[in-house]
């Protein structure tokens, strides 16, 4: 009888262990946006031009943690809010992690965002960031690779001219070039810093 109870308890412990490890695996796959990471970034590399006019290859930055964002400098709400939050994230990281964290701001508005404008804009937010641009085709290739989206919207009634609808995810790319997390605007700076520290 005693052996029977002991066996049952062992079975239950093993079962619970299997359940917890399965839940653990599931939670590793989930992101704050719920997007499946398996469909993102098959190549782990892209090529664009940086804010100094030099050719930028993502693969040249192995060993650095990357935050990738698609936006435009005339963006009045989402982009400055995101970059301001990133400034808080950087301030929460230790010097070592901060130096190895590079933010890439890929413009979806190459017509207005000159390299100089990108540089001035990003310097303002006081983070380790590089502005990237290219032809529309070059930018679209990267946008597609990351399953991001944008759409130019002509606003005849507004003094703004044209604007862009765009996705607002921040892609966290690990030191091997693999996209490991998607941050959403609702994510808190403290939580983001914790996740970045874990890479």
């Amino acid at each position: 009888m005693l052996m029977f109870v002991a066996n049952k308890i062992i079975f239950l412990i093993v079962l619970l262990g299997v359940c917890f490890s399965w839940v653990g695996c599931e939670s590793q796959e989930k992101t704050s946006t719920g997007m499946d990471l398996g469909v993102i970034n098959p190549q782990r590399d892209f090529t664009l031009h940086d804010q100094d006019g030099k050719i930028f290859h993502l693969k040249d930055h192995r060993g650095e943690v990357i935050l990738l964002f698609f936006g435009y400098t005339s963006c009045p709400d989402v982009c400055p809010t995101t970059l301001s939050k990133l400034a808080r994230v950087y301030s929460l990281l230790g010097m070592g992690t901060r130096q190895k964290l590079l933010t890439l701001f890929v413009t979806i508005d190459p017509q207005r965002d000159t390299p100089q404008k990108l540089k001035e804009y990003l310097q303002y937010f006081n983070i380790n960031a590089v502005g990237l641009s290219g032809t529309k085709q070059e930018i679209d290739k990267v946008v597609d690779a990351y399953k991001a989206m944008y759409e130019k919207v002509d606003t005849n009634s507004s003094a703004l001219g044209y604007m862009f609808d765009h996705t607002d995810y921040l892609y966290l790319i690990d030191k091997e070039g693999k996209t490991s997390y998607l941050f959403h605007p609702e994510d808190k700076a403290q939580d983001m810093a914790q996740i970045i520290k874990g890479l």
Binding site: P76, A159, L160, T167
Partner: protein, 147 residues
């Protein structure tokens, strides 16, 4: 130390007072609080203003437009998620329910300040006037926040 604390208190009180406005005229029961504007690099000619509009009257208040000496144009805009993207569009108005409030915040309603006449630096205080459908106006002093 006490003097330092007193100075801090006076400063916080002063800033709170500046960002809090009360209406005259028909909308005397409308209060604006926590008004702020996103600081932007000097090369940028646009920014957005946010605030909480509280309506203590028994009638709905309708914000129809805004203006500011700091910008050539001020427009009411609304961000919303559409087809997986953040969409921004001009809004004709903002309805503030009777005995209720509306928060203008990033990702939602905001006042777009377009063609800024001077750079917006953190700590600046800028006046913004809200125009309501009943003809009343409220001017609020918004503090510039950000980098």
């Amino acid at each position: 130390m006490k003097t330092k604390n007193l100075c801090c208190f006076i400063f916080i009180f002063f800033v709170s007072f500046l960002s809090y406005a009360r209406a005259d005229g028909l909308s005397k029961d409308i209060f604006i609080s926590n008004a702020w504007v996103q600081a932007m690099p000097s090369s940028q000619k646009i920014s957005a203003a946010y605030m909480v509009i509280t309506n203590n009257s028994p009638k709905e208040a309708i914000l129809v437009s805004a203006s500011s000496d700091i910008a050539a144009t001020a427009e009411i805009h609304q961000m919303s998620e559409m087809n997986g993207m953040m969409n921004m569009a001009m809004a004709a108005n903002v309805h503030v329910p009777a005995q209720g409030k509306v928060t203008l915040q990033p990702g939602g309603f905001h006042i777009m300040l377009i063609n800024l006449k001077k750079p917006l630096n953190k700590g600046d205080i800028i006046p913004i006037t809200l125009h309501f459908q009943d003809g009343s106006n409220i001017t609020v002093n918004a503090d510039v926040r950000g980098q």
